[in-house]
Subunit: 421 residues, 2 copies
């Protein structure tokens, strides 16, 4: 069985590589026509997709999944419509492939151009939400990449139906065969085979919890772009507009607490903590936020808070919980964030330009904010149109990872017979 799965996944890899060569030379307009046809096909296949999804839902109910998980899994007419709308939106975005990134001439007369090109073949490993099947595949396709998808077993029937619909719809407009392939095996070993197939895959992107990412990292032979936790901080400096600070804390923490760019730890200068922290605490407790405090902030907030443990400083709650610590000032705040944070998104609230400059220079995170809610750490909010995730890596892609980050480049050198001798 093992060899059988391995062999079949390798066959998919070879087919993806072949598709990627054709995809790499498609014009933007052709790719957009393909994407529009994929969206139309998805709507035409809505009934089939919803029926396949019903099989997954029944299995999930029998296996006792929580109602929240089942809700994330469920597809109906309006959700399929929204997946199709997402595809049409990607069609409308500018295509980074073909862009001349740099262009210069050398003293010997040869001209060097750096051309943006697709990466090639991208593997996407994800957990149960079936919409990721489409979201990930179309971002890769827009940038001329072939994909091999491996979704969670809970959504296998939905994923198969969506991937088949996308591929067949695209083929009506000339999508190369095997541009979008879904691994039909739910065995865990299929992840390992995919992650070790560096003769065909140029990149692997795991989308899901830390356990999934960790497993892929330890097995993968090709580059992995990781989207780890967001343990986001907001530091309130002594020189700040207190009303702005209150507003930013409320927004960063409560506007959507379940996402990676939500606030998890509040740091506040000791010089303003006494006056400002009780107001912030009451803002938050009114909004049902549990406060976990170091000794000094606990003393200022009182009985509406609980003591923090050491684990709290490294916790990504993704919930209505906030850890709070009083610090001496900006230097301690920077040290704390670089030590305990996840290098994702961190904010300073201050009116001092010099302190903002220090913070933005010293904080080693993908996105550093000055007087802006951490919730804006997001590809859409950056104006990228769509994102495949928020990278916590420093190589190739850092922060919101969008179309541009799904490309590579090559150098084109033209001359008239230049030789070294």
């Amino acid at each position: 069985m093992n060899e059988d799965i391995k062999g079949k996944i390798e066959t998919m890899g070879a087919a993806a590589l072949s598709a990627s060569r054709e995809l790499s030379t498609l014009e933007t307009e052709k790719k957009n026509q393909i994407l529009m046809a994929m969206a139309d096909q998805l709507m035409a296949d809505a009934d089939t997709i919803i029926e396949a999804n019903g099989v997954d839902i029944s299995a999930a109910e029998q296996n006792g999944l929580t109602s929240a998980m089942i809700d994330r899994l469920r597809l109906d007419e309006s959700r399929v419509e929204s997946i199709a709308d997402g595809i049409r939106q990607v069609a409308s975005l500018p295509d980074p492939v073909g862009q001349i990134m740099d262009d210069w001439e050398r003293p010997n007369g040869m001209r060097i151009r750096q051309l943006r090109v697709p990466i090639g073949v991208i593997g996407i490993i994800y957990e149960s939400r079936p919409n990721v099947t489409s979201d990930a595949a179309v971002l890769c396709l827009k940038t001329g990449n072939a994909t091999i998808l491996r979704g969670g077993k809970e959504s296998i029937h939905s994923n198969k139906a969506i991937a088949a619909s996308l591929q067949s719809g695209g083929e009506l407009e000339g999508l190369p065969k095997n541009s979008i392939q879904l691994i039909p095996f739910t065995e865990r070993e299929s992840v390992k085979h995919l992650a070790q197939m560096d003769q065909y895959l140029d990149l692997i992107i795991p989308r899901g919890g830390a356990g999934l990412i960790e497993a892929v990292v330890s097995m993968a032979r090709m580059p992995v772009i990781k989207h780890y936790d967001g343990i986001c901080h907001l530091y309130i400096d002594d020189e700040c507009d207190p009303e702005m600070a209150r507003k930013l804390v409320i927004d960063s923490k409560t506007q959507k607490p379940s996402v990676c760019n939500a606030l998890e730890t509040l740091l506040i200068s000791e010089q303003v903590a006494e006056t400002l922290l009780p107001l912030i605490a009451s803002d938050l407790t009114e909004r049902n936020v549990e406060l976990r405090c170091d000794e000094r902030s606990l003393a200022l907030i009182g009985s509406s808070a609980v003591p923090a443990t050491d684990d709290d400083w490294r916790a990504e709650y993704l919930d209505l919980i906030l850890s709070i610590k009083v610090v001496e000032g900006i230097d301690e705040a920077v040290r704390h964030i670089n030590e305990y944070g996840s290098h994702h998104s961190d904010c300073i609230v201050t009116v001092s330009e010099s302190k903002a400059d220090q913070f933005m220079s010293e904080i080693d995170s993908a996105t550093v904010f000055w007087n802006v809610s951490t919730r804006f750490s997001d590809g859409e909010e950056f104006g990228f149109g769509a994102e495949i995730g928020i990278s916590t890596d420093k190589l190739h892609a850092r922060g919101p990872m969008a179309l541009r980050e799904l490309t590579s480049y090559k150098y084109l050198i033209t001359g008239n017979g230049q030789t070294k001798v």
Copy 2:
């Protein structure tokens, strides 16, 4: 012992991370002063370094290393001087760190800047040449990165002396402690500990043969940038200037055959093979190049050539050997190169702009040449001043990897209290 080495390497990792935080905020001028002081110190320490090198040379002689290997290992006054000159040259190059790569404003008034920053901590694993100790460390330092070096055991004494000299010379001008560290252990397990220490290392670069790279790839938990073989091709189209074709073949193959951008396989259109190939064969045999030919080219060249085997199409000779194949035309050439090449550097010789465009579009290689010797695939020749290698990866760095590719970026977002709600 195992735990002891592991613990010591982890201590080095933590120290490197701490140094990298300080390095990341150093001004360009300060870094250049540090580099100049390092070059001066290296010259002041020349006697000590040459003495340490003598220990390595004696061991190499006792262990029966070839005279070529011993020569690569040997340091004398002029070689130390040349290492110091290399450092001064890096000081004179522009610093990419601090560059604003992009800058835009969103409709809600927040301003987003993308700032080029150091990567952080870089591990370099290399084989026996002691000059790599300095070359790699100073390129990383110029871009604000801390390094942990692990050189081959044959040059351990030389490497220790060079690294100590660089670090101590730099400290005279304010280089943070532990910015340049060399692993003092020659045990192979030290490579493994380094490659798995992703809590401290952001990137690992193996410099050496395929066996070394392969070992690092299979162990590493952090990104690895690989500098694999160059199996470089030159395709002579039927529409070409025959004298230019001859000149480019001679230069690409014979000017320096031992390097990764030297020509290894010649492809020639069947329409010009009969007239042109005998001339090329005589050019090359005059220069002592062994020719390994497919059936058709063998028939045209005759007894000065030998038949190629299947292995020849995937061989990086790094020697005065060339494989030759007659092809139908550009389509077969493209298919052959994408199938058998190593995606490093490939050239078309043609006067047809449309065929050149096709070749440059379809060849999936880091550098694609039109009427230029493959020997120009090199950071210096690109005008980058220095390079740490030629990446055969597609992520982050592709082709000549220079200072810019030793950087990452972060997003700085400034506003006046923007919230999502």
